[in-house]
Symmetry: C2
């Protein structure tokens, strides 16, 4: 293993950073070495989504040192992301810093957050290789380093699916990170202003103000609903010159909100149509700079294109030499362990049960990730307490209760102060399903209590109240 | 005047945009033609800073159609900008959309906001040429258009001075726009995280966390104060691994806060030093990627460099063929008119009295710009009411009261809940001057009542309260 290098004697001149190797040449081989007997065992968490953050929140920092590796230093509260695109909520309200979720990360001398990507996993030697994320900042060189782990949790999430359609990455915007929402907002406001420039052609004006959403899942529907609320309430008032030119089209190959009850689906369809969202059944064949082309040859010019057709495993996950679940995710057993190796677990959208467990694949939902994170935190705390926290020390351990997922129901907002709540266990089961203002109220309340910190709960409430009183903010910063 | 073209007959197919010419080839010649007898006279405002926005707020939309041309659709509440860099205040809290300052801009059929730069002024024909701002968005072509005006107000502000020092534009960040504050915040948080990466050298860590501010005026001092508050309160807690490596240096060629009372200056110096800000007397000779070089040869490595050494006239202002005031600003008479031409006024940092008025040049302060905007709105309303609103119709008009500036005093925050308040009329005059917590309270109260909308007043109060309770937000989005 050429890229790993043990601690050098130079380390001693560091005080608070005593476990770093600091060889000057080549610096690329520095890293966190294996934990020593007097230190706490180290859990390395790859990723900072719902699964990873819920896990870190639950891990006991008295038992473990926690090291998180992720290209972003916050968790995104994804169910509310669509609301930030049009200014109903502020961007920061849906971002929770990891240091707030698990304060030990910034306080404990052996716990760290590294703004980096994991580039390789050496399961045999219990080491991961990482590279720091610098976003092209020229004054900082990208830095390679290694981290030895006692337990490794892979919670890297998934990436948007494009079905190999040409032009999606170049021209469409996804809706998964805060910077996506920022890009959508900037583009929407730019298009609104550009369409008002003197002398612009009718056709170009319609194109600029045509917002197309591909994918009729909860994200696509929520975004379409928010957008039509924004148009009805704010564009009419603040951009009255162009208010008759703006339109929203939602393109879906099958049914919208296919996981919901047929009655709820019908309700959502009616409601969206009433708010002015044009629902189109169609399959996208090609995406160009200013238009998309459907399978039947229809050309749809657009000014803003948002793509949300579900997620699939990333190239890094696919490249890992681990057992896989159907669909190409990292395979796990009933305790969320990767079966062929020691001390590696995987949770969230990047993982699934291996076929031999006989278990159904779980949907790529925040709810599943959150439950898995919570379960694994308890399991690791239990293992740690019973002295199984070190590398290779939990081989004959009794892992106890398996992870069992119980679906609590689905919710989706559809705009105009309306939402769907489907409390059935599965698509076939019977149970409560609701639509309308009461559901919308439940939807808001449920999210308010799930936003992690009190600070953000407070801000969500304040944002909602000010949007209600003053309208949405339209400054393009 | 080859680039101007009168309204074409094609215009008729437009309804809400009836005064646009819409020739298709070349489209570059489209624009707003001269106002007709049945229409309101048109005031064109170039810029959306303190001066332009205060003017638009005061103009009577029943008398005039208002057209604003600016590369940003909001006003920046500059005195609070330094607070947003470290998360004390949110970015949107200091940005006020123009459509909120003057709602007629988005409601009246003849009033517009154009996201564009003015590229030429034809004073003889009462027309300005503009080019839309697209920020490199590939799906929108830059668009040239013209606007005929009855009254033109040039309120384009100034640009940062660099004294021709090499490397300032490439490596330093100014602190004048919201995107500057965003860049500072992203860079500061990136440096904090990068300095925590395993294996990084001591020296590089110190460099990354060395924040250098050049210029000891109110902006530089306020930013240094905010930064040291952030370090003392938030970095110590949230980035405890690197807390001993972060430092702030303020470099000034002369005295800091030179416009203030000597007693206040001494107080500020003591206070900043106590908070850990290193004050250095020096002149910058050269700025390189990772270090600055002073006149005496000293090399100062930095991770973040903020430049605030005052402002001067922009290249566009310099290029205009108008009388100039000492210092190269657009020259105006006592009524803020540009003397050699009809119907052109200039206010704010881009303008100054011509020498023949015998008046002192006014400082480049928000206070001056705001007062000039207010005065000019009253003057234009008066002219409009007395039928002088049309182009060339106010030649023999009695302009009445001249603009007289009365300095209300200066304020500057210096961090640690302390501020300076200097209520003297001028540097030589006697009068009240205060320093400390009471001043800080006055400073906050004064700003709270000056932030324009109730929405933003509310958010400033909320932001300050949450920062006090929960600390600053550190998510890097």
């Amino acid at each position: 293993m050429s890229w790993f290098r043990p601690l050098s004697s130079k380390t001693r001149r560091f005080t608070s950073l005593s476990r770093f190797s600091t060889s000057t040449s080549p610096v690329h081989h520095a890293g966190l070495g294996p934990t020593k007997a007097h230190e706490k065992p180290r859990v390395v968490v790859l990723g900072s989504g719902w699964a990873g953050c819920r896990l870190m929140k639950g891990l006991d920092p008295k038992i473990y040192d926690i090291v998180c590796v992720s290209p972003r230093n916050h968790m995104v509260f994804t169910p509310l992301l669509a609301s930030t695109c049009v200014g109903t909520l502020e961007f920061r309200t849906v971002a929770e810093p990891i240091a707030r979720i698990q304060p030990a990360i910034s306080r404990e001398p052996g716990s760290f957050f590294f703004l980096a990507n994991c580039t390789a996993i050496d399961a045999l030697n219990h080491v991961v290789q990482c590279e720091s994320v610098t976003e092209g900042t020229q004054t900082i060189d990208p830095w390679k380093f290694t981290i030895a782990y006692d337990k490794l949790v892979i919670a890297l999430g998934a990436q948007p699916t494009t079905f190999g359609i040409h032009g999606v990455y170049e021209h469409a915007i996804f809706l998964r990170e805060v910077y996506h929402a920022q890009e959508i907002r900037r583009k929407l406001l730019l298009n609104l202003m550009m369409s008002d420039v003197p002398g612009i052609e009718e056709e170009e004006k319609r194109r600029l103000l045509h917002c197309v959403v591909v994918g009729g899942g909860p994200t696509g529907v929520e975004f379409s609903g928010e957008l039509s609320d924004f148009i009805v309430r704010d564009v009419r008032e603040r951009y009255s010159h162009v208010k008759d030119y703006i339109h929203v089209t939602l393109i879906e190959a099958n049914e919208i909100l296919s996981s919901f009850d047929v009655r709820l689906r019908q309700y959502a369809t009616n409601q969206l149509t009433k708010s002015g969202v044009r629902l189109v059944r169609g399959i996208v064949k090609d995406v160009e700079e200013k238009k998309i082309i459907l399978n039947d040859g229809t050309e749809v010019p657009y000014g803003l294109l948002v793509w949300s057709t579900g997620v699939g495993p990333s190239a890094f996950i696919q490249s890992l030499d681990f057992p896989k679940s159907p669909g190409g995710r990292i395979g796990t057993d009933e305790w969320l362990r990767v079966p062929t190796v020691e001390d590696i677990f995987s949770i969230g959208d990047c993982s699934g049960f291996v076929e031999s467990t006989g278990k159904q694949p779980l949907p790529a939902l925040a709810q599943v990730a959150e439950r898995q994170g919570k379960y694994l935190a308890m399991l690791l705390n239990k293992i740690g307490k019973e002295n199984g926290g070190r590398a290779n020390s939990a081989k004959d351990f009794d892992f106890g209760e398996q992870f069992v997922y119980k679906h609590l129901g689905s919710m989706a907002s559809i705009g105009s102060y309306k939402a769907l709540v489907d409390l059935r266990q599965s698509k076939e089961a019977k149970g409560l399903s609701l639509a309308g203002f009461v559901s919308w109220f439940i939807w808001r309340s449920a999210y308010l209590t799930r936003v992690i910190s009190w600070r953000n709960r407070f801000y969500v409430a304040i944002n909602w109240a000010t949007t209600f009183v003053f309208g949405r903010d339209i400054s393009r910063i």
